[in-house]
């Protein structure tokens, strides 16, 4: 735990300064997790604020200190899921307005403004975003928490409140789908492979 439970208790009692301290202690970690869950840096703060807003209004339901972090992760997962669902709907509408050529030109223009390392990282980010786009929002989040955030099955069990076996099955299926998408992507790019870190 990054903070003492007494601090959380003070925040529960309505102490604004204590709540501030809790937010300050966790915000960097939560911002990083959200950035990787949603893949859109420009909206990370907005989603993080939604997480802490939900934390503020549900803090009185917390009884034991052990569950604080899984609980905070759960709020993060829910807020990210809500965001991704809205975003998918918005993107479907927006992308249908652009021709393929326009999309390619916009991509190329964006690529030209950044350094080669930034460009490579952007390619990695775009590729992972596209691969994670092959699974549902729930599976995307679950897979990101496991594979990118490095959470253990035990931690995921606490966050999701389901047993380890169910999580394993779901993770396996999601990973298979991502692997298939990865394979299809690699085949498509076989003439021009993706730049990778040596």
């Amino acid at each position: 735990m990054l903070v003492e439970f007494e601090l959380i208790q003070k925040a529960q009692a309505g102490d604004g300064a204590a709540f501030n301290q809790v937010v300050v202690a966790y915000r960097k970690r939560i911002l990083g997790t959200i950035a990787r869950l949603i893949g859109r840096p420009e909206d990370v703060e907005d989603v993080a604020q939604e997480v802490f807003l939900r934390l503020y209004y549900s803090l009185d339901q917390l009884r034991t200190p052990e569950v604080f972090e899984p609980w905070l992760y759960r709020l993060t997962v829910n807020a990210s899921y809500d965001y991704l669902r809205k975003q998918r709907r918005r993107n479907e509408a927006r992308m249908s307005d652009l021709s393929e050529q326009q999309v390619m030109m916009a991509d190329a223009a964006a690529g030209g403004r950044v350094s080669s390392e930034e460009h490579r990282l952007k390619q990695v980010k775009d590729l992972v975003d596209a691969l994670l786009g092959s699974v549902s929002e729930q599976d995307r989040i679950l897979l990101t928490l496991k594979e990118v955030e490095g959470l253990s099955l035990k931690e995921l069990e606490k966050i999701y409140g389901v047993n380890e076996n169910a999580l394993k099955v779901r993770l396996f299926r999601a990973r298979q789908r991502v692997l298939n998408a990865f394979e299809a992507n690699q085949k498509g790019r076989s003439a021009k492979p993706v730049e990778r870190k040596s």
């Binding site: 915000r27 960097k28 604020q49 990282l121 992972v128 990778r196």
Partner: protein, 110 residues
């Protein structure tokens, strides 16, 4: 047994995921983060407060209407019926009249 090609793909995917984490490292919030958060908290508080007050008004109005109806039922009104329906009918139509209408024999009325 896992196919060597599958293992390679799995390893490549793992490497890609760790590069993804490097591409999106933990970051600190902007200076506006906390003020904006408190603004949102206060905004929600005001909305909740308004909804709570509105629901209190509704509850008070509903209670007042209930009391009004209960009072209307409890207070007896002036034209309360003291006799039964048959008695009222008998009073309105005496047996003599029934005989004149041919409903009863005159002998029965005596």
């Amino acid at each position: 047994m896992e196919h060597p090609n599958d293992k390679l793909r799995n390893d490549e995917l793992d490497a890609l995921f760790s590069e993804y984490k490097a591409a999106l490292p933990d970051r600190d919030a902007s200076a506006n983060f906390m003020p904006q958060l408190w603004r949102r908290i206060e905004g929600r508080q005001n909305t909740l407060f308004r909804v709570k007050r509105l629901s209190q008004y509704f509850v008070a109005a509903a209670a007042a209407i209930c009391i009004l109806f209960a009072t209307m039922l409890a207070v007896p009104n002036g034209n309360e019926v003291s006799s039964s329906y048959v008695d009222v009918l008998a009073q309105a139509y005496p047996t003599e009249n029934l005989a004149s209408h041919g409903i009863l024999d005159e002998a029965d009325t005596k």
